[in-house]
């Protein structure tokens, strides 16, 4: 379901790129590069604790989350105010629609802090991609998706080991009820899919969505800027009309990025929950 839009994005990128390249033979236009995601270091250069723009954005977002939720739950009432309803509603997305739906009341409550933190962190980290001034998703460098994927990985393995001590690994790798020769095929597949692909796909799905989204937006808006204002288009002023098109694309993809941000946060949380649920389930 997510692959399709991504492919569309890729196709669009190709289309836009070729357009840009053909129309900029005079030189002067530089599209976005992967260096977008490695901005210059600001603090602690040379140490393990280097801080660049993206890291600072993460701290800002953490502060925003904390302030918003602190203000929203500071004065909880039995009969909620409008602001409190909004906060409760957003927390209920994770509590009711994800945790309790998939894990049930008891286990849902156990894993709720983790799932809530994952959901709101991913959501908050995705959104700055379209916030003017920040202009880059804080989840678009590999560190963050990877850390979250590792946490999800640890969480579902912990859940499985705690619930079925001793039998979790065996029943995961050797699903019961399968004739033994099949294990030669099933066991490597299961190992690969459960213990290797799950965290990798979790991390890559989020990273690639955010990277692609950011590159698209940069491409659209830098092309718009180029078409409207570049001096190298002297003599072929008609090309400036392309700027309207690239701006429209940029507008559409900005809206699209909002959807992607929410969707990716939801999917990341949902998949983490599903993995925990599968680990908790009696039969594997």
């Amino acid at each position: 379901m997510l692959e399709a839009p991504n492919q569309e994005i890729a196709l669009l990128v190709n289309a836009v790129t070729s357009l840009v390249v053909t129309s900029t033979e005079g030189g002067g236009f530089t599209g976005p590069s992967i260096n977008e995601f490695f901005p210059p270091v600001i603090f602690f250069a040379g140490t393990l604790f280097e801080m660049n723009r993206i890291v600072l954005i993460r701290f800002l977002l953490a502060a925003v989350i904390i302030v918003l939720f602190w203000l929203g739950t500071r004065n909880l009432r039995l009969i909620p105010t409008k602001a409190q309803s909004l906060v409760e509603m957003s927390l209920d997305v994770v509590r009711v629609n994800i945790a309790e739906d998939l894990l049930g009341k008891k286990d849902g409550k156990r894993f709720l802090p983790l799932l809530t933190a994952i959901f709101f962190t991913v959501l908050a980290f995705n959104l700055p991609g379209i916030i003017p001034g920040l202009n880059i998703a804080a989840s678009s460098t590999f560190g963050f998706p990877l850390v979250l994927a590792v946490i999800a990985y640890v969480a579902f393995i912990y859940a499985g080991l705690k619930k079925h001590p001793g039998t979790f690994l065996r029943s995961s790798l050797f699903p019961p009820g399968v004739p033994w020769p099949i294990y030669f095929i099933v066991t490597p597949i299961e190992f690969l899919s459960i213990f290797i692909l799950r965290p990798i796909t979790l991390a890559l799905r989020l990273l690639m969505n955010m990277v692609a989204g950011h590159l698209l937006l940069v491409l659209c808006f830098s092309a718009t800027d180029f078409f409207f204002f570049s001096a190298s288009l002297e003599g072929s002023e008609w090309a400036r009309f392309f700027g309207i098109g690239t701006f429209a694309f940029g507008f559409v993809f900005t809206a699209f990025e909002i959807v992607v941000s929410v969707l990716q946060a939801y999917i990341f949380t949902l998949l983490t929950t599903v993995y925990i649920q599968l680990a908790l389930a009696e039969e594997h």
């Binding site: 890729a10 992967i34 280097e50 904390i66 809530t116 560190g143 963050f144 990877l146 692609a212 590159l215």
Partner: protein, 183 residues
């Protein structure tokens, strides 16, 4: 997908976005840990306490409503019972009154009948007495009248009381017998 996007980047850089930088992971972990602890220790316990208090309040209200409902039902039942009781009592009183009334009427009738009887008897007795006295006085008067008449007719004084008396009696007896014969 990735290729397409990376191909889009004109600057051919050797940075691999799939190799996480240590600082990236460290700060991600730190930030996430802060947010996790914040939700875990602060927000979710508060919200959870609120939800419990809310469901307790709702249950309490439902309980209160139940109690009120039960009270209302009990009051209604009591009222209905009282009403039925009052009706029964009214019926009983009416019945007693009817019986009493009947008895009074019967008694009155009896008394009236007795009284009427008594009056009738008295009247009869009086009539009889008056008749007797009338008879006696009539007899006396008729006797003397007859004697006077007879004295006039025969020209002889019928003064002898014994004789005259016998005569009158005979005459009267004859009269009575002739009267009887005429009947």
């Amino acid at each position: 997908m990735l290729h397409a996007i990376f191909a889009a980047s004109t600057a051919a850089e050797s940075v691999n976005p799939l190799v996480p930088a240590p600082y990236d992971m460290i700060w991600s972990t730190v930030v996430f840990a802060i947010i996790l602890v914040f939700f875990w220790k602060k927000i979710l316990p508060n919200v959870s306490a609120l939800l419990e208090a809310r469901s307790a309040a709702i249950e309490g209200n439902i309980e209160k409503a139940d109690v009120a409902q039960r009270e209302a039902e009990a009051a209604l039942a009591q009222y209905t019972a009282q009403l039925a009781e009052a009706r029964a009592e009214a019926g009983k009183i009416r019945e007693v009154a009817r019986v009493d009334g009947q008895k009074i009427v019967t008694d009155a009738k009896d008394v009236a009948t007795t009284e009427a009887l008594r009056i009738t008897q008295t009247a009869h007795a009086q009539i009889e007495a008056e008749r007797q006295s009338a008879l006696v006085s009539l007899r006396g008067e008729v006797g003397s009248l007859a004697l006077d008449l007879a004295t006039g007719v025969i020209g002889q004084a019928l003064t002898d009381d014994a004789k005259s008396k016998a005569l009158v009696d005979r005459f009267l007896a004859d009269l009575e017998s002739s009267e009887k014969a005429a009947k």
